[in-house]
Subunit: 624 residues, 2 copies
Amino acid sequence: MLTSIATVSISGALTEKLHACAAAGFDGVEIFEPDVIASDHSPEEIRALAQRLGLSLDLYQPLRDIEGVDEQTFAENLRRAEATFRTASRLGIGTILVCSNVATATVDSDEVSADQLRRLGDLAATYDIRVAFEALAWGRFIDDYRRSWTIVERANHPKVGLCLDSFHVLSRGHDPAAIRDIPGDKIFYLQLADAPALTMDVLSWSRHHRLFPGEGSFDLAGFVDHVLATGFDGPLSLEVFNDTFRQTDPDRTAVHALRSLVWLQDKVAALQPELARGRLHAVAEAKPPNGFDFVELKAEDTSDIEILLEQLGFTPSGRHRTKPVTLWVAGDARVVLNEQQARDLRPHVSAIGFSVPDAAATSHRAADLMAPIAYRRTYADEQELSGVVAPDGTEMYWVTATGGQPPGWIAEFHNGMPAAASPVRGIDHVNLLQPWQTADEAVLFLTSVFGLSADAPAEVPGPTGLVRSQVMRTADGSIRLPLNVAPHVLDGSSVPQHIAFACRDVVALARAARARGLDFLPVPDNYYDYVAGRFGVDADTVAELREFNLLYDRSPEGEFVHFYTRTVGSVFFEFVERRGHYDGYGTDNAPIRLAAQRQRQTERVRSRVAGPSRRVPSGANLEP
Amino acid sequence: MLTSIATVSISGALTEKLHACAAAGFDGVEIFEPDVIASDHSPEEIRALAQRLGLSLDLYQPLRDIEGVDEQTFAENLRRAEATFRTASRLGIGTILVCSNVATATVDSDEVSADQLRRLGDLAATYDIRVAFEALAWGRFIDDYRRSWTIVERANHPKVGLCLDSFHVLSRGHDPAAIRDIPGDKIFYLQLADAPALTMDVLSWSRHHRLFPGEGSFDLAGFVDHVLATGFDGPLSLEVFNDTFRQTDPDRTAVHALRSLVWLQDKVAALQPELARGRLHAVAEAKPPNGFDFVELKAEDTSDIEILLEQLGFTPSGRHRTKPVTLWVAGDARVVLNEQQARDLRPHVSAIGFSVPDAAATSHRAADLMAPIAYRRTYADEQELSGVVAPDGTEMYWVTATGGQPPGWIAEFHNGMPAAASPVRGIDHVNLLQPWQTADEAVLFLTSVFGLSADAPAEVPGPTGLVRSQVMRTADGSIRLPLNVAPHVLDGSSVPQHIAFACRDVVALARAARARGLDFLPVPDNYYDYVAGRFGVDADTVAELREFNLLYDRSPEGEFVHFYTRTVGSVFFEFVERRGHYDGYGTDNAPIRLAAQRQRQTERVRSRVAGPSRRVPSGANLEP
C-alpha cells in the first residue's frame, strides 16, 4: 500500500521535511498547516518541490472548530474554511482534514453537524476538495468515530467523508470492529499512531507521547485489518506528535517512521494472507537469534580490559590473522578486543554478534526493514559477517548457528591458548546505554529486525537521576539486551555499558577472581544488613555475599547472585548466577551499583585533583 | 517552626545531602532508607555526621506493605520491620514511617489493620520507636487520611500515630478540614509537597512531578493551617519526588527547598497572625515592583546593539562616569549597555532593574528569602543598587520609584544627548531563557521575592522542538517576565532572549526604523494569507503588516501588533502595540518567529561554510 506521513511528525522547516520523507522512500505526505504558514516557500513552490521529489500531497490539515455552532458563527467559519481551501488548491491538495469541534461547539446535534458539514462540502466542491471529518478523542460533543460516521452518513455529500485516526479510537478504548461496517470509499483518510499505555488526560497523551507503530501498546495491525476490510485503498499515513521526534534529525526520523509502516504491513499481511499478495508489503521472514555469538569491545588500548578478563578466568584464544583483534573465551562466552588507532578511544561495546538459525534470511529481513548496513573489512578467505548499525551506533552481526559447533570465524584467530574449563556458561545480557533521542527507535529496530520483544520498562533511581531501563529479549532469554537511558549528566559522571556473563557457581568464580587480584566494585556494608532484613537470608550466606561483594535478589521463581567489576573506559563486567527460574536482572540492586560507581568516580576525580602529577605506565591496573 | 526535608528530595550521596541540608539551614532531615543502604557510611557514622552538622534525624522511611495481611505474612513482616527498627536505632531515629499496604494487602478491615499496627507498635516500643502510619493515595485498601486516622485511633497505642502528607490528601481531592479533629500529639509527622495540576495516574504524578511549596497548584497554606490548628508542633518537612531535582546540584536544591518553607510559613502566618508571633517565621513585607527601571545588556563589544538601538529611535543618553557603561533611552525605556573585557562574551541580558515602592523593604524581603546577593561595584557618590541573582543567573536590581521622576542613577551618566520624543512607552516584557534545571526554582524565586504570579504555562512548537513558556507578572502587567525553557538543541541553533518595548504606533515606529536601515526579522508571505483568512483582516491592513514584517493577533479583549529585529549575540528586540485590553504575547505567532530565526541561522551557517573567508569590520551591520 502507499505510505504517507504528516509533516508534524518530524522536525525542521517544511522543505527539509519534504526532502527527508522523499529520501526515506515515502510515497506522500500530509501537510500540517502551521508548517506552511511558517515556510518561506509559497504554496506553489511547495507543490513543485513535492512533485520533483516524487511525493504526493495527500492531505492538508487541520481545519478546526467548524460544525456544531450557531448560524452566525458558522458563516464566519465558512469564510475561514474558504481561505484554507484556497491554500489547499494552491498546494494542489484534494483532501482537507476537519476535526470535530473542541472549542466553540454549542449545539449537540447530529442533524446540525451533518447539515453544516454538507454546506461545507458544497463550498469544498467548488474547489474540487474533499472534506475528511475526524472525531477527536477530546471533541466537545463528537469524540467517537461511530458518531462521526453517523454524521457523515447523514450529511450524505460526495465531498464529505471520514478520517480515521487510530489514536482517537484506541486511546478511548472504543471497539474498532465497527469500522468494518463503513463503506471503504467513505473513509477519505487513515492516520496511524501508536502510544504507550499511560493513564493521563488524553489531550496531553496525544500531543506529547504518540509513537510510531510497533513502539507502543496499541493493536495497530488489528486496527488496520478492520480498515482494509472496508475496501479502503488510500495510503497508510503516520501522524505522530512526540516531543522527542520534534527534536531529532528529520532524515533519521523519516527512515525510522517508514520502517514502522513496513513492519506494520507485515503484521497485517500475517492476518490477511490473501490480501497481502496484491497490496501489502510483506517482509522476509527470519527467526529471532538463539544466542550470543560474541561481543566486541573497541579501544585505542585494550590492555586494561585484558587484565580484567584474565583475572576473571578468560583464556586468550588467539590473534586475528589480518586485523588488530584478539579473542578471549570462557565457556561459550566470546569477547573480541579490537584495538583501533583512534586517539583517546576508550573501551566501549562496539559490536554484538548473534547466532541465528538462517543468516541469509536475517539479512533479507534487515534489508527489507531498511536497517543501515554495518561495514567490516573482510579478506578473501575470511568468513563474511552480515550486520547492521543499531540506532545507538552499536554494530550487530549474525552468523548461522551450527548446533554446538563453534562459529567458523574462530579459525581466523591464531596462536591462542586452549580454552580451560570455566564456570562461565556464556553471555547472559549486554546492557547498552541509549541516547534519549533514539530510545524509541531502538525498540522498533530490535523488534522488527531481530524479532525481540520489549519487557515492561523500569526506572532505577541513581544518585544523579533516574535511569530508564527497557529490556529487549527473546522469549527464551537466550538474548537479553537491557537498554538504558541515563539522566542528563551534570557532575561529569556517566552511566557505563556492561556485559553480564552467566555462570554456574558465582561464588567460586568470585573467589578465583579475587585470588587473581580482581578489583570488585565495592558494595557498602549497609547493603548486607538490608539483605538480611529484607530476605531473611542466614548469617553465613550474608557473610559470604559480603566477603566477595556479591549482590542478591529473590523472586517467586528463584534467586539471583551477581557481582560487578570496576569500570574500564565506558564498560564494566557483571557475573550472574541464575538459580531456579529467576528471570530478572536484580533491578533493586542497580541503585547500589550506581551509587558505588559514582562514589568511585568522585574519588578518582578527587585523587586526580589532589594527587601529585605522575605518569601512569600503560597497562597499569588503574582506571583511566 | 522547625524545618526538615526528606533526603530523597535532593541528589547525590547521603553524606553530600546532609552537608547540603545543613549548609542551607535546615533543622533536620528525614532519612530515605535506600540512601542508607547505598551509603558507604555506617548508621553510626551517619548519626555522628548529622550531629556534628547540627541536623536532627527526624524520620526513617518508608516501611512498606506491613498491615492488612494474613497472620503468616504478618509474622514475616514483623521480622522485616524489626530489621528496620534496628537500623533506625543505630541512626538514633525515633520515628518510622509506615505506608499503607500497596502490594500485599489481602484483608480490607479496620480491625485487622488496627490490630496489626498495635502489635507493630509493641515491637517498636522495645526500640523506643514511634510508628507514623500514612495513607498512600494509591494504597490497596487504605488511601484516605480519614481512614488511616480511624485505624490509628482504633489501634490506640502510644507508639502508633499518623503521618500526614499533603500530596496524598490533596492529590485525591480529599477535604483536609477533617485534620482539625485529630489530636495534634497523634500526628507524629507532617510531610509537605506541592504539585502541578495534572490529570494522570496518581502514582506517576507523585513519583515524578512533585514540587516544592509555591511551585504547584495545591493550597498548602490552608493545609498547614489545618494541621497547626490541632496543636501539632513537629517540623514542617518536605518530601518531593521530582525528576529534575534528582539531577540538580544538592546545595542549590537545598536552599531552594528551604526558601519554599520560609515562603510557606509566611503564607500560613498571614492566615493565623496570632499563631505567627511565637512559632512561624514571617518574612519582611514588600510590595511588588510597579515598573521596569532598566534592562542591562553585557558584551565584549556592544556596537551591534548600539546600531540596532539607534535605528529603533533610541537616544544615546550618556556614558557612566566610572564604568564602561552607556545609557540608551526611548520614552520610559532605558537600556544600559555594559562593555566587559571578557573575550567572546556575546550580547545577552545581564540585569533587570525594577521600580519598587520601597527599596529597603524589598531588600529585607530578599534577605529573608535567602536570595543570593548580586554584587555591583559602587563608588562613593553613586547610587547604591540592591540586587539579587535569579536562578538563571540574571541580576535583578531595584530602586524606589519616585512618581514620574527619572531614577537617581541617571545623573551618573555624562555627555548624553537630550532624549527625543518617542512612540516608545517603556519596557513591555523581558523574555529570559531558562535552563531546564532551574525553571521551577525561578517560579518560586520570583513569586516569593518579588510577589510576581505565574500565568498558565504555554507550549510553543518550534522547528526543533517545543519551547515551554511560563509568564511571571504583576497583576497590572507593569512587570511581565516570560520564562522560556528551550528544547535540547541538536543542530546548533538556540532560542535567544529578548526585550519587548511597548509603543504607541508600531507601524510608524517600524516605518521610521526601516528608513534608518533596520534589519527586521523577515516574516514569510504565507503568514499574511493566514492572517487574512483567520481574522478576516482587510486587504489594506494586511498589505501594511506585510510591508513592515509586522505580526498580528486578536483576542476578545483587543489587538496586538508587533515586530522583531534580527538577533545580536543572544538577544533580539521586539516592539509591541497593545490595542484595547489585549493582555497576551502573540503566542500563536511565536512558531513563525522561531522558524524565521532558525532559517536565518541556517543561512548564516551556510554562508559561513560556502562564502570566502573575509574579515568583517567591527560594528558592521552583520550578525555575529
